[in-house]
Every structure is written in structure tokens, then in C-alpha cells.
């Protein structure tokens, strides 16, 4: 209901100001179909929520009009076609997205960078994205998986666990993450007995689990997707008693897995996903809950921040200028400047438009390093009593 009110308010606002200035389109390209289809609606809502907050402030003059497109998460041809449409037909000022690393690389290389359009991904985490030739147009508020690998290796070492099997979904995200985890565990002095891929969308994973089990490993790291092979692997491993201890990187976070496997999973999982604690995170959680969203959903706060960064850079650049957005993005994201938290976008926009330096913190404590990617803070959780329980932040 709240969401409906908000949407109505936003559209009234758009309608109200449209006479003054035409709205500026901003693309939101996420996998509304495909392996991440259960988490992308929450991400898109969060981004649209941020744009609504921006429009409410009225600082930008022309309201921002989010246009959704489907990245499919897996089909690079479909994703680039959708991005092409956003840029040519919808004339977007910037693109929020994409979600999965493979399609993000494809869109950046063949559409966004050649056309000079900024992409801000809330969730693409492949280490390969750190080194693409992006001409400065690609940013992400999600950290590279190289960092997640280190965090996982630290957590496991602190708990005294050793002897791991790693299975990954056979794509850029899974491969990059599995390699990062294996490298970090080896660097921390641990053993990885086997690293094997699995294909998504199969009916049966008992053969994959049998091979993983035969390696003699004690703990299984599942670098897969929560709606796809990852849950099949976990189920088969539990059914056959092959593994009793699981480590879930970010793609495996989701209530749907717990609901589908049931009580057997309790107490057997350590998971990590990007997340922070602090004032910004708390404010965002309150705002998002108030608007009927789930602030703990995967990449929901990141999506808000990605949208906010686009709007703030636009204000700093003095308008929806594609290259201007690129040039200002790192300035508004990083220190020095006035810190801006989630829910303070109006203040941030005014300062940025006035040419004052701001340091956007947002919901996730945004700080972009290196080639424009988040430094990264992770939430470590366990599954207890059919729900994820936060243990610590790293």
C-alpha cells in the first residue's frame, strides 16, 4: 500500500513538473527473468525508491524517470539488446546495472562504454570487472569478489575449519569467485581438495555431489545461485550425507533456499554477503521498511546507493550530461566533503548542485577504490531456526 502511495506521489510529482521540464530517463537493467529473478524486484524497487526521493526534493529540476529493462542475468545477446534500446530509444542519461557479472561485462564492453554512458552496478562482483577497458564509465557499489574471497578465508580460518571442496556455477561470476576463494584459502594456509563447476537448471545434482564428496573434503563452499544449481547441490549433499557443513557466498543468500530445504539446513551454514552496520544502514532499513521493502534483501541497499550516486553526480555535473556524470561520480562518492547518509539525498543534491564537495556514505558506507568499485564490507551470517542470523560484520 505504502509503495502504491509512493508510486502515486512520484508520478504526481513527475506529472506536476513535466510541464516545466521533460523528465530525464535513467535505465535500470537487472535480471527480471533468469537465475536472479527472485531478488531483482527488490533491487529495482530500492533504486526507484531512491529516484523518488530525488524527485521529491525537486533540486534537479527535471525529474528522473526510471526505465526498467531485462538483463536476463545469463543471456549476453538479450542483455546488450536491452541496453541498446535503453540508450538509443529511451535516451537514458545513465544506466543502473547490470546485476550479473557476465552480462555486465557484455553491456559495458559493447554498449555502454562505446556510447559513453555511465553504468553503476549494484551487484556485479567478478574480479574481471576490475580490469576491463571501461574508459572510466563503469562503476560498482559492490566489492570485487577478490575481497569476498579474503573475507571468507578469514572467517573460516578464525573458526578453525579446513579441508574444503568448492563448487561454482559455470559462468563469470562463479568462476571468478571460486578462484578468489581458493586463492585466499591457499594464502591463509588452508587446503582446497577440489574445485568443480556445476551447470544451472538441471534436475539432478547427485553426480556432481558424488565427485565433490569423493575428494575427501569436509566442508562445501557453494559459489552458486540461490534459485538455481546452488540449492540443488545443497539438497543433494544433505540427502546423501556427503556434507554436513556449508559455506555460502553472496549469491546463495535467500529465504527461498531455507524454505525449500527446510529444517535440515539449520546450524550447517556460514554465509557472507555485502553489508554494513552504522547510521546510514539503520536509516535506510527504517526508510525501506516504511516503504514496504525488505532492507535485508540481497543488494537492496546497494541498489539505493547506485541510484543515489547517479542522481548526485548529475547534480554535481549540472545536468544529465553523460560524460559529466562520469567525471563527477568519484568526487561525490568519496571523501573529502560533507558526509551524506541514506535519506539525506535532498541535502546532498543541494550541496552538490551548489558545487560543494560531498562524501556520499549512503546505506552501505560507499567508498569507491581503484577503478571505481566498492571497498567492501561483509555481513557474516548463520542459518538458525529457518532464518539467517547475523553474526558479525567484516
Amino acid at each position: 500500500m505504502n509503495r502504491l502511495l509512493l508510486a502515486t506521489a512520484a508520478s504526481v510529482l513527475i506529472a506536476g513538473t513535466a510541464s516545466a521540464q521533460d523528465p530525464v530517463n535513467v535505465g535500470i537493467i537487472l535480471g527480471f527473468t533468469g537465475p536472479l529473478e527472485s531478488i531483482t524486484p527488490g533491487m529495482a524497487e530500492s533504486a526507484e525508491f531512491a529516484f523518488a526521493e530525488v524527485n521529491e526534493s525537486g533540486v534537479l529540476g527535471a525529474p528522473l524517470n526510471p526505465v526498467r529493462a531485462d538483463s536476463t542475468c545469463v543471456d549476453a545477446a538479450a542483455a546488450t539488446a536491452a541496453a541498446e534500446r535503453l540508450i538509443t530509444a529511451e535516451n537514458v542519461a545513465a544506466i543502473l546495472g547490470a546485476d550479473c557479472s557476465g552480462v555486465t561485462i557484455a553491456i559495458a564492453n559493447s554498449v555502454a562504454v562505446p556510447n559513453g554512458v555511465v553504468m553503476v552496478s549494484p551487484s556485479a562482483t567478478s574480479p574481471a570487472l576490475s580490469t576491463i577497458d571501461d574508459n572510466g564509465f563503469f562503476f560498482r557499489v559492490a566489492p570485487s569478489d577478490a575481497r569476498q574471497g579474503e573475507v571468507i578465508a578469514d572467517v573460516l580460518k578464525d573458526r578453525g575449519l579446513d579441508n574444503f571442496a568448492i563448487t561454482y556455477t559455470n559462468n563469470d561470476y562463479g568462476k571468478g569467485l571460486a578462484d578468489a576463494i581458493a586463492a585466499a584459502i591457499a594464502a591463509a594456509g588452508g587446503t582446497v581438495a577440489i574445485v568443480a563447476a556445476h551447470e544451472d537448471g538441471k534436475g539432478d545434482y547427485s553426480a556432481e555431489v558424488a565427485a565433490l564428496q569423493a575428494s575427501g573434503a569436509e566442508h562445501l563452499i557453494v559459489a552458486g545461485y540461490v534459485d538455481q544449481g546452488g540449492v540443488g547441490i545443497t539438497q543433494a549433499a544433505l540427502d546423501t550425507g556427503a556434507f554436513e557443513s556449508f559455506i555460502f557466498p553472496d549469491g546463495m543468500y535467500g529465504q527461498s533456499l531455507i524454505d525449500s530445504i527446510g529444517e535440515d539446513i539449520n546450524g550447517k551454514v556460514i554465509g557472507t554477503l555485502p553489508g554494513v552496520e552504522g547510521e546510514g544502514a539503520d536509516t535506510f532499513a527504517a526508510l525501506a521498511s516504511g516503504a514496504g521493502m525488505d532492507p535485508t534483501g540481497t543488494y537492496v541497499p546497494e541498489s539505493y546507493d547506485a541510484a543515489a550516486l547517479i542522481a548526485l553526480s548529475m547534480a554535481a555535473a549540472g545536468g544529465p550530461d553523460r560524460t559529466g556524470i562520469r567525471d563527477k561520480l568519484l568526487d561525490v562518492a568519496n571523501a573529502p566533503g560533507e558526509p551524506i547518509l541514506a535519506g539525506e539525498l535532498a541535502k546532498g543534491l543541494e550541496l552538490a548542485a551548489a558545487g560543494t564537495d560531498i562524501d556520499y556514505q549512503g546505506a552501505t558506507g560507499v567508498e569507491l577504490i581503484g577503478p571505481g568499485e566498492a571497498k567492501g564490507s561483509y555481513r557474516v551470517y548463520e542459518i538458525q531456526d529457518n532464518a539467517p542470523v547475523t553474526i558479525e560484520y567484516r
Binding site: I194, A196, H198, A207, V209, D227, D239, G241
Partner: protein, 337 residues
């Protein structure tokens, strides 16, 4: 001795039990394909999607039963919903036959035309199933998940390795035995079954001796609908339901039918088990198994895996090619296609 037992339990848990359950599901699927080939003389590419359609209806009715609080205790409710799915599949197949296949049969079109028509039918079934139930994973299993749990087995025997037997695996094997016996009894003993076999052997002679061809065709489709829905539901209970995986099942099912000898009901059963067991046996990593059997110093360092699990579907292809080269009629001397 204990090492030997551990090795056997390990192999049963990861190779034998999954392979036998999968083999039973393939055998039921292949039996349907082979019946159509024997009586109607074409390879029905729509068979995988017939399975998906029947299963989708079973799932919908299962959900309704679950909503009403009706169940079978430790057994999955889907068994109760099977007749509804079967009826829907029968209706679908008979309507398809009336609207599509009968036209080509009346013209005595060559088999390849019917095969191509079945490819078209496959796409339509594909769409109908997705329209009814969606493209995603559906879970409809309920009741007791395990007949034997790993932990219980270990406590019972004191062995290091555990053995898990899921309820769905037992049901799969029991239902397969019952259904296959019933089909063979029907084909061998009843008048209608004999008429079907006569029609299959020689259509003209059968017509001359007064067998009603429309009736034979109808009975065949009904049998096929029953087999397809049961095979699909068992596969969905044991693994998971997703329309696309049923479409993918077409390859191992055809491989099973051809390896066994297409047109031969016995061959379909044998072929199903041959394909299933070789898929699992070839892709299993034998490191743990061998470690139990050989002295410690001989224990293999590698995984001892013949083919990566990615190549599972390739195994059915390889067997298919070898059989077609060496013995094109299949194990039980079916027809050459």
C-alpha cells in the same frame, strides 16, 4: 572386512541407488516412446513434454489436495493426484491425435512427416505446460522424505559411510515394477493387447482380420499417457520439476529406447537401466571407493574419474553412437531406424 563394507555402502549411496531410481524413470519414459514407435511407426519427439504436461497437472492437483488437508501420511500426496494428471494427459494426446496425427495417418504419410509433426506438437506442449505452471522449479513432494537416513544407518551399522534411501526412490522402483508388469500382462494376455501387437507386426494383415485400427491407436495413446505421466511424476518427486529438464530428458529416453531395440518393450526397460547406470558409473569419482579397498600407500591422489560430470549427457550420445554402429537393432533386436 569393514573397509570392504564401507566401500560397498559408499558405492551404493552415490552410484547404485541413484542410478537404479533414474533408470526406472528412463525405462518408463522409453517404454512410452517404444510403444508409439511399434504401433504408430514414428519417433514421438513430444514425449518429454507429454511427461511435463501430465506432471504439471499432477502438481496442480497435489497442491489443491494439500490445501484441502488431504494426504497419504508418509507417502507423497502426488500419488493420489496421479489419476487426474493421467486423465488430462489422455485427453491432450487424444485431441492431438484427432487434430494432427490422424490426418497424416489417413494419407499414409512417410514416418519422417509424422516425426516433424511431432516436433511441432512438442513446441505447442512446451508452451501449454509453461503457460499452465510457469518455467520455474516447482516443489510438490511431501510426506516422509527419507526411508533411511544417513545418520540412522551409521548408528545402526557402526560404519563410517552412511546410506540414504529416499521415499521417492523406493516409490519409483515399486511403481515401475507394478506398471511394467501391468503393461506386459496387458500386451501378452488381453485381446486388446494382442490386437495391438498384431497391428504392430503387420498393419494390413491386422486390418484384414477385423482389428479396428482406430481403437488400437486410441488404446496406444492412452497407455502412452499413463506411462508418460507416471514417469514424469516419479522424476519430479525424486529430483525436481522444471519444464526444461523434461525437454532435456528426451535424449536419454530415446537413447534408452534405441539401445534396447526400438519397438521392443523389454528393450526399453533394459535400455533405461543401461543408460542410467552408465551415466552415473562413468562420471563417478572412485577415489574414496578405492581408498577403502587398496592398502594405504596405494591410495590414489587424483579423483579417479573417467569423465567430468559436465559430460553426463554426452554419455548417452556415446552409447547411442556405439550401438548404432555395432548393433543397430539394439540389444533386443528392435527395428532398424
Amino acid at each position: 572386512m569393514e573397509n570392504l563394507l564401507n566401500a560397498l555402502v559408499l558405492l551404493s549411496n552415490f552410484v547404485l541407488i541413484p542410478a537404479i531410481a533414474y533408470g526406472a524413470q528412463l525405462a518408463l519414459g522409453a517404454l512410452g516412446v517404444t510403444l508409439i514407435y511399434a504401433v504408430l511407426r514414428f519417433s514421438n519427439f513430444a514425449h518429454g513434454d507429454t511427461m511435463a504436461f501430465g506432471t504439471a497437472i499432477v502438481i496442480l492437483f497435489t497442491w489443491w489436495l494439500q490445501g484441502q488437508g488431504i494426504g497419504l501420511g508418509p507417502l507423497p500426496t502426488a500419488l493420489l493426484a496421479l489419476p487426474v494428471g493421467i486423465l488430462a494427459a489422455i485427453l491432450l494426446l487424444l485431441v492431438t491425435d484427432r487434430w494432427v496425427y490422424r490426418f497424416y495417418r489417413a494419407r499414409r504419410s512417410p514416418p519422417v512427416v509424422l516425426v516433424m509433426a511431432s516436433v511441432g506438437v512438442m513446441f505447442i506442449y512446451n508452451a501449454i505446460t509453461r503457460f499452465i505452471i510457469g518455467t520455474g522449479d516447482q516443489r510438490f513432494e511431501d510426506g516422509a522424505r527419507f526411508a533411511l537416513k544417513v545418520g540412522d544407518f551409521k548408528a545402526l551399522t557402526g560404519l563410517d559411510q552412511g546410506l540414504a534411501i529416499r521415499t521417492s526412490q523406493i516409490i519409483t522402483i515399486v511403481v515401475m515394477v507394478v506398471v511394467v508388469s501391468a503393461v506386459f500382462w496387458f500386451l501378452q494376455r488381453t485381446r486388446t493387447g494382442k490386437a495391438m501387437r498384431a497391428y504392430s507386426d503387420n498393419e494390413d494383415l491386422a486390418l484384414l482380420s477385423g482389428i479396428n485400427p482406430d481403437r488400437v491407436v486410441m488404446i496406444t495413446w492412452i497407455l502412452v499417457a499413463i506411462l508418460a505421466t507416471i514417469a514424469g511424476t516419479l522424476y519430479g518427486l525424486d529430483k525436481s520439476f522444471r519444464p526444461f529438464t523434461y525437454f532435456q530428458l528426451l535424449l536419454p529416453i530415446f537413447a534408452a529406447a534405441i539401445v534396447g531395440g526400438i519397438g521392443q518393450p523389454f528393450g526399453a526397460i533394459a535400455g533405461g537401466f543401461v543408460i542410467a547406470i552408465s551415466e552415473v558409473v562413468v562420471t563417478y569419482a572412485y577415489k574414496g571407493f578405492l581408498t577403502y579397498l587398496v592398502p594405504e600407500s596405494w591410495a590414489p591422489a587424483g579423483l579417479v574419474q573417467m569423465l567430468g560430470t559436465d559430460y553426463k549427457f554426452a554419455v548417452s550420445f556415446i552409447i547411442l553412437v556405439i550401438v548404432l554402429l555395432v548393433r543397430p537393432t539394439g540389444i533386443f533386436r528392435g527395428r532398424v531406424i
